[in-house]
Symmetry: C3
Subunit: 204 residues, 3 copies
């Protein structure tokens, strides 16, 4: 029986892989290219985190992420044209992934003895860096640098985790509150089109 | 006396470096930039593999890869305009490199105790990831995601290696069969223009 | 009291971060994106070096680099439009960073027992790779591959370090001479517009 966290992990991985495969398909990638972009979107953030923390990347210990990406590719091949109608569903799934990956990255870093500020960065990398590699591969400026609150939601969640721990919460409670914060921040930011200010170029 | 494998390694490294330097020269890179792109094309796949496997990247233990890239640059500077007539030769050399790098990456991962599915991915990364970094550096969508059977040849070779081992072949035999499979798959794919299907974008 | 090297490190980090934030602002990145690009420009080279050397990246052990990037972002937000008048100042600061980062990367590699040719590459990566990641993130061909002497200044400095050690200099003297060489090479290259030759594309 998979645990609740494993189900969330699968849903998040699936949503991240779908996002990579959709953008790859818009660029006319072949099946192999789309699979690789989907896989890297799903596991890229965790891989960079694990390289920085000097531990074996999670996907190298369990083939579930390869299988999950394969199912995502199959889904897009079979029902890709209906994906646009599932926009809201995938937005929710993607936000679940963002929240869970942030909590996982944060918890893993703390368990290895890193200070909270490193853990917050690692949580954000886990949630957001896969999308950055995806955008580099499809030769676009990474979306999270220009639009919407995305990685900032991870940072906000991380800060809330910190607040929880210094006010004496159990780690378990802090993790749930952190994940819910990331999820709600992301949902609210998109619903109310909350953006960070943009820098003005010197030429402008 | 260099061994047969060392000669193949040199030929493959040279061909990969030439491919990076040629694409860099089409973008008017200077000699230094061309050298870096050539070097990264040659050693990038193995470096990513070694970071993931947590071992010291091979090129940091032997200056032969730096020297080989230097010779490749010299070649392009002196005889670059004749390279187009050597197209078939370099295609063969490049395919030798792809085959050998796949076998090396696969063998190294198995020797470290990783399961076969990790080893197949590592073999493919060793063969194909250098070309991905090359294309990111010259600001193009990675070629292997859109055209031709390239990294798929590594995956096919890895699958054949797996078949060999479960049918009781010696590792040495499995490696030779794997390398030949990668080489032939690549040659046939280009000769008969075998492509994977392309995903259709949702807008289309 | 910060040491002289710590002050140089802060000045170099600040200049590198400013360079990332300026280029991000020209692409209309939001504050978060500009911060990330600035941070990666400042610490990216050292991070790649530390991953290759298999040690914990320096910025994960001291929050000063995060703080320094935050100050750089604040500076650009408040006084960004005057930056163009400080062009020469930032060029000097950037060259100080290049020189110091080269010396630090070189020294760290030698201290870990790597041979001098690996140390020279690590010094160059420390100085120049952050700018490469910056340019990939803003979706431009990395500047150092096409224009000016930049990473080559690191290589020249590394070669001078080598000459110093084989002629019997103390490590301390070799480091100072190396840093000054990088700094002067960079300044002279820009002042006299010294470039490396460009490769001609085969189509040309």
């Amino acid at each position: 029986m998979p645990t609740f966290v494993q189900i969330l992990d699968f849903v998040g991985t699936f949503a991240f892989a779908i996002s990579g495969i959709r953008l790859a398909s818009a660029k006319r990638f072949d099946w192999f290219g789309a699979y690789v972009v989907g896989f890297v979107t799903a596991i890229g953030g965790g891989t960079i985190r694990d390289l920085l923390l000097d531990v074996t990347p999670g996907w190298m210990t369990d083939p579930i992420y390869l299988i999950c990406t394969g199912l995502a590719l199959l889904w897009v091949i079979l029902w890709g044209k209906y994906l646009i109608h599932l926009h809201n569903t995938f937005f929710i799934f993607d936000s679940i992934g963002l929240a869970l990956f942030t909590v996982v990255g944060l918890g893993k870093s703390l368990a290895l003895g890193y200070p909270i500020w490193v853990a917050i960065i690692m949580g954000s990398i886990t949630g957001a860096a896969g999308g950055v590699i995806r955008d580099v591969f499809i030769n676009e400026i990474p979306l999270i640098f220009r639009k919407e609150i995305y990685a900032m939601a991870c940072v906000v969640g991380g800060a809330v985790y910190w607040l929880c721990t210094i006010t004496g919460s159990e780690p378990y409670v802090a993790q749930v509150v952190c994940g819910i914060t990331v999820f709600i921040t992301r949902i609210l930011a998109v619903k109310f089109k909350i953006c960070l200010p943009t820098l003005k170029g010197e030429e402008g």
